[in-house]
């Protein structure tokens, strides 16, 4: 599934002379101070109107995702040009690009029937006034060439109001089966150039596909594109499976299964679907596994005699190390992106709260401090935040906070929301929402860490326990 990428070197040269080139603030992690500042801005609702008026000084198209109010940016993505053998790809790729961008809530597509001019050739000059007249701000053009076992997709992004390309054109090449990935890569490039945030559309989600009534629910592992396309099932539903998680390279999955009759953690190779029981320790239950950032270690919970603690296992040697030692429940461990620390939940204080300790164990510092219970902490891939589940006064919430526990922000509220997982760029979380009562079914939702853009992820049936992959390579 390799996709080759290289810049286009012709018409887009002019971009280099503009401030709007590639030197835009990119994916560098936001420092805590910056983050705190923007979070404060967000919570200060009274300044909403004011802040929305302070537009950036540059004339170029940008979206600051942390602005308290965002007017979605109009964009147009005409069908890509067929440069030979493209067939339906020319339309389909443009449609996936449009869906990715509109799906963020940061962009709004200008309808095709508003177009004044048509793109007839990938290298023809852009009639900017025609696009300005319909108030589109970003124009994406592209071309597709397909033949044999190969498909080539190229695109350019134009800033309609300055009348110039934004960044270099890019070209992607791969097998026809990767056409949606190439569309996601185009959308990722557009998203990153305009927002300054890291890309995330070219990613997968592993999850639990559910069927059957609540008291006899059948579960199996599924994996799909982040937008719900290309579903593939990895297990059958002969035994309960729970909470899968991707390896840092996306090639392996950890999960909990009752396949042996007792809950135990398993490692699956995604390509071969071969599995290995990592927790064959009779008399114990192992669960809540997660990879270390280098992929060499699994941190998980092990229960024995009713007491649950956190352990780490070296995948190479199988050697285990106990990281917590308390009579309370310690579970849901998640590494910091640099691998030096672990955030986890414990009820040692009497209720579930979130703690951070060194990756080698030792003393833990509690970071959650608000009312209610805090659980399922997950460290952001940018390192700056912890996403969590919160239960308070009979409601469930998905929330985020800084790693010192400050600046807590609840993003959702419902009968049952749980188990956030981060998009590769640390801007969006996906989670499980389940309805009440006999008919209550689980589904996957996503929400921006600003609390905006709550969306349902389409799945074939009920679904739970999503885990986002890293950005695909």
């Amino acid at each position: 599934m390799t996709i080759w990428k290289f810049p286009l070197t012709c018409a887009a040269k002019a971009a280099k002379t503009l401030k709007t080139g590639q030197s835009r603030p990119k994916t560098t992690p936001v420092s805590n101070e910056d983050q705190m500042h923007s979070l404060k801005t967000l919570s200060a609702a009274v300044f909403l109107g004011l802040s929305a008026l302070t537009l950036p000084a540059q004339a170029e198209i940008t979206i600051n995702i942390d602005s308290p109010v965002i007017e979605p940016m109009p964009f147009a993505v005409p069908d890509f040009i067929d440069e030979g053998g493209a067939g339906e790809y020319a339309t389909n790729i443009a449609r996936v690009v449009a869906a990715d961008l509109a799906g963020t809530g940061l962009f709004v597509e200008t309808p095709k029937d508003a177009y004044i001019s048509r793109i007839t050739s990938f290298d023809a000059p852009i009639a900017y006034p025609d696009w300005q007249a319909i108030n589109t701000q970003a124009l994406i053009t592209g071309a597709v060439q397909a033949g044999g076992d190969r498909i080539v997709v190229k695109f350019r992004l134009y800033d309609v109001f300055t009348g110039a390309p934004l960044g270099d054109g890019l070209q992607f090449a791969g097998t026809p089966g990767t056409w949606r990935r190439m569309a996601h890569k185009v959308a990722d490039a557009v998203y990153s150039r305009i927002t300054g945030e890291g890309p995330y559309f070219d990613s997968r989600v592993v999850y639990v596909a559910e069927s059957g009534p609540k008291n006899q629910r059948q579960k199996r592992l599924g994996v799909m594109d982040y937008d719900g396309a290309n579903i593939q099932y990895l297990t059958d539903s002969s035994s309960i499976v729970l909470a899968p998680r991707f390896s840092p390279a996306g090639d392996r999955i950890l999960y909990t299964s009752y396949a042996s009759g007792f809950p135990s953690i398993y490692l699956m190779d995604v390509a071969s679907l071969q599995t290995r029981n990592l927790g064959e320790l009779p008399g114990t239950m192992t669960f809540a596994p997660r990879f270390s950032p280098d992929g060499s270690t699994v941190v998980f919970s092990l229960e024995q005699g009713g007491n649950t603690d956190i352990y780490a296992m070296d995948l190479g040697s199988g050697q285990m190390r106990q990281l917590t030692n308390a009579p309370s429940i310690e579970t849901s461990p998640s590494y910091s992106p640099d691998g030096s620390q672990i955030v986890f939940e414990s009820d040692r204080s009497g209720t579930q709260q979130v703690y951070i300790m060194s990756a080698s164990g030792g003393e833990a510092v509690r970071i959650s401090g608000g009312k209610g219970r805090y659980s399922t902490p997950v460290w952001s891939p940018r390192g700056d935040m912890i996403a969590f589940t919160k239960q308070n006064e009979g409601r469930f919430h998905i929330g985020v906070m800084l790693t010192d526990g400050t600046e807590e922000r609840l993003l959702t509220a419902s009968f049952l929301d749980e188990g956030p997982t981060w998009a590769p760029n640390g801007r969006v979380v996906m989670f499980t929402r389940e309805g009440a009562g006999a008919g209550g079914q689980a589904g996957l939702m996503s929400v921006d860490i600003s609390g905006r853009n709550l969306r349902q992820i389409p799945t074939e049936g009920p679904a739970s326990d999503p885990a986002w992959s890293p950005l695909l390579q």
Partner: protein
């Protein structure tokens, strides 16, 4: 902590080797919680509930389950009474091994509820050991909130789902 050598644990597990896969909730399970009621039709192999040596008698007359308050794994006086009855039944019916299932209601996160279900199962196991049931006859398993028996989202249902169920199987020393 050092885990027991695998060989030793395997021996321990063999005591239960005659049991089927304990996951009676698997795709072919369907026996979602024993202890049915109504007239006697032995469609599930549990025996005649009027026969004190039958599984049906254990499930219905001795009581195969104990309930827990919200987020608790401490045994109530009522639960202790039921478990004392289980222990004496097991003393006179020595051919049975047991699996103790721990369950939680849906008002909690998945992983915490697995740990909570394990705590409940262990509380039952500890009590049965204190009543003289041999540890080698018992295993525990937690289902967390995966297998409620009641599906409404009200306390009336939650109260029945916060349970530990003692499931009999023929097995010890057979």
């Amino acid at each position: 902590m050092t885990l027991l050598p695998k060989a030793l644990l395997l021996v321990a597990a063999l005591g239960l080797a005659a049991c089927n896969n304990p996951d009676r909730y698997g795709a072919n399970g369907g026996n979602g919680g024993a202890g049915g009621n109504g007239g006697f039709v032995d469609t599930n192999g549990l025996g005649d509930p009027s026969n004190p040596k039958s599984i049906a008698y254990f499930n219905q007359s001795v009581g195969d389950r104990v309930l827990f308050p919200v987020d608790q794994s401490t045994l109530t006086p009522e639960a202790r009474g039921i478990l004392a009855g289980q222990a004496s039944w097991l003393a006179t019916n020595a051919d049975y091994a047991i699996i103790i299932e721990g369950h939680a209601d849906e008002q909690g996160t998945r992983e915490y509820n697995l740990a909570l279900g394990a705590r409940r199962a262990a509380a039952v196991q500890d009590f049965l050991i204190s009543q003289g049931v041999a540890p080698s006859r018992m295993r525990t398993i937690s289902y967390g909130k995966e297998r409620p028996i009641e599906v409404c989202s009200e306390e009336a249902c939650y109260a029945k789902n916060r349970r530990a169920v003692t499931v009999l199987s023929m097995g010890t020393g057979a």
